[in-house]
């Protein structure tokens, strides 16, 4: 039998991706001829000012929106919509309030045709991975924002995706919780061997988590820029190298 682990999986290629929106009868170009390769198992952060199209890009990758032109290849196959090899973590946890935490975590796998008992078992595993094993029977409204977001992460992990798409996952959390969650996400990313695409407006988060950072320009005439983050993990936020990368990114937005 072939070794599944060595197979290149979760590779993404964007080819001449363009997308416009019609707003008030005017066509607003959000993405223009974006070309990008995302390597298997890498963590790519996408940053950009609001309106730069970073969320649009992620929604196209998720298969929730369609591009006007160009295509997305995953493991060399063009995507046509949502797919089993991908899972999305949104800014809000998006938990079903009428289901327990465990049922919420098992939801994705059940919907994808997993046997209910098997799904619950695996859900339990990922729930303890995010440190919420004892909250399995709680309802979402009993959880804090950070805990709820963890449940959402566990739900995405339970389907064991090759690609994890994150849309400002910690944007709504307080500063302390955010730092803890970033550390946990890094640990999970390393353990689960998953390709991660992270949309964020938090430059420090991008430097902390990403192998490479894609900077989307506000003006559609300039090209997106890629910055490689060459720092050992786990990263130290106060280290000079870290601070330098942060400064470099700030400069991309004309800030100091």
């Amino acid at each position: 039998m072939g070794d599944v682990q060595t197979l290149k999986k979760g590779e993404i290629a964007l080819r001449d991706l363009s997308k416009s929106f019609q707003i008030g009868g005017r066509s607003l170009r959000v993405l223009r001829n974006v070309n990008l390769e995302i390597r298997s198992g890498e963590c790519l952060a996408i940053v950009g000012a609001s309106g730069s199209g970073k969320t649009t890009l992620l929604r196209i990758l998720a298969g929730l929106d369609a591009a006007d032109a160009g295509k997305v290849l995953i493991d060399n196959q063009p995507i046509t919509g949502v797919g089993n090899e991908r899972a999305v973590i949104f800014q809000e946890p998006r938990l079903l309030p009428w289901q327990t935490v465990l049922e919420n975590v098992a939801f994705g796998l059940e919907v994808r045709g997993g046997h209910a008992r098997h799904a619950k078992e695996r859900a339990r595993h990922y729930l303890s991975l995010v440190g919420l094993a004892e909250f399995a029977d709680a309802y979402p409204k009993q959880l804090s924002g950070g805990m709820a977001q963890r449940v959402g992460i566990a739900r995405a992990l339970t389907v064991q995706p090759e690609i994890l798409l994150l849309d400002e996952p910690f944007g709504a959390l307080d500063a302390m919780t955010k730092l803890t969650m970033q550390e946990e996400l890094e640990r999970i990313w390393r353990d689960e061997n998953v390709t991660m695409v992270l949309v964020t407006h938090d430059l420090e988060e991008a430097v902390y988590l990403a192998d490479r950072v894609l900077v989307l320009p506000k003006s559609k005439d300039s090209n997106p820029k890629i910055i490689e983050i060459d720092l050992a993990r786990p990263r130290d936020r106060s280290e000079p190298g870290f601070v330098r990368y942060r400064k470099d990114l700030l400069r991309e937005f004309g800030l100091h």
């Binding site: 998720a62 298969g63 929730l64 949502v82 797919g83 089993n84 991908r86 899972a87 999305v88 949104f90 809000e92 998006r94 079903l96 309030p97 009428w98 289901q99 939801f107 994705g108 919907v111 994808r112 309802y139 979402p140 409204k141 389907v159």
Partner: protein, 281 residues
């Protein structure tokens, strides 16, 4: 040694039992206080009524004392005179309510999901809803006669709309972000409906059910006051014509009781179905 000290020493001697007894007393007093804060005003109202009526301060011919009303109710229910009326009233409103549930909930679930149909039907629904069912009662009588059919139909008509509109809005107000989340996991339309839309709409459906149950009893009385010779609503009018005021109040209280029972039954069902949300009475 005062009496209290004796009490206390006995309790102390009893040891664990004494502690339990004290705890029990404390819990009982907490319960009593809760009961008083909730029902105290109601009890005071009834006591005031009783006292004012039997002392003649309220005209007992119009407001007979509570005990006279209760004994009329007792005689009516256990003597069997009111039993028939209660049965026929329950049958009328029950039939209409069940029919409204069977029509409104499936229709509402469907309409809430198919926007063009909802948009096409909404104006006519709003018009029907704003047209008083009682104003239409003469029309129903013309169509269906003065018998059971027109009574059941007018109740059905009035209960249909609150339930239908609440079901539709319940479906429409289900968080679209949850639906999108389900889609990301590849959920088919039926799965999205079963696991997201339906459970999400249930609280709003229950609001409709409770409104409809109240409306059903309201319309029941009105329809029984017009051209009926049986039913609790008929008894209210009939007792008044015959100047059996205690019996009239007995019938009114029975109606109030039926309304309370219906509401509590629905709240109970909602609590069972919606353990995840807070349900208030």
């Amino acid at each position: 040694m005062s009496l209290q000290d004796v009490d206390r020493s006995i309790l102390a001697n009893r040891g664990a039992d004494g502690v339990k007894a004290e705890e029990y007393l404390q819990r009982a007093s907490v319960k009593l206080r809760n009961w008083l804060s909730r029902y105290g005003l109601l009890a005071a109202f009834l006591v005031f009524w009783q006292a004012a009526s039997s002392s003649g301060w309220l005209n007992p011919a119009v407001f007979p004392p509570i005990d006279a009303i209760l004994s009329a109710m007792w005689r009516g229910v256990f003597g069997g005179a009111l039993l028939d009326d209660i049965a026929i009233s329950l049958q009328r409103s029950g039939l209409a309510f069940v029919a409204a549930v069977l029509v409104a909930i499936p229709l509402g679930l469907f309409m809430g999901q198919v926007r063009p149909i909802e948009q096409a039907l909404d104006p006519i629904l709003q018009l029907f809803r704003q047209t008083s069912a009682l104003a239409l009662y003469p029309v129903f009588i013309l169509l269906l006669g003065l018998g059971e059919a027109s009574k059941v139909f007018v109740i059905f008509w009035a209960t249909l709309f609150p339930l239908l509109l609440n079901t539709i809005s319940g479906v429409k107000e289900v968080d679209s972000k949850l639906i999108e989340m389900a889609r990301v996991y590849g959920a088919s339309r039926p799965t999205v409906f079963r696991r997201v839309v339906l459970p999400g709409a249930i609280p709003s459906i229950f609001v409709g059910l409770r409104l409809s149950a109240t409306t059903a009893l309201l319309l029941l009385i009105a329809s029984e006051m017009i051209g009926a010779n049986k039913g609790v609503g008929f008894q209210v009018m009939n007792a008044q014509y015959n100047f059996q005021i205690p019996l009239m109040f007995a019938a009114i209280f029975i109606l109030a009781g039926l309304g309370l029972i219906a509401n509590y039954a629905l709240v109970f069902a909602q609590r069972r179905l919606c353990r995840w949300s807070d349900v208030s009475i």
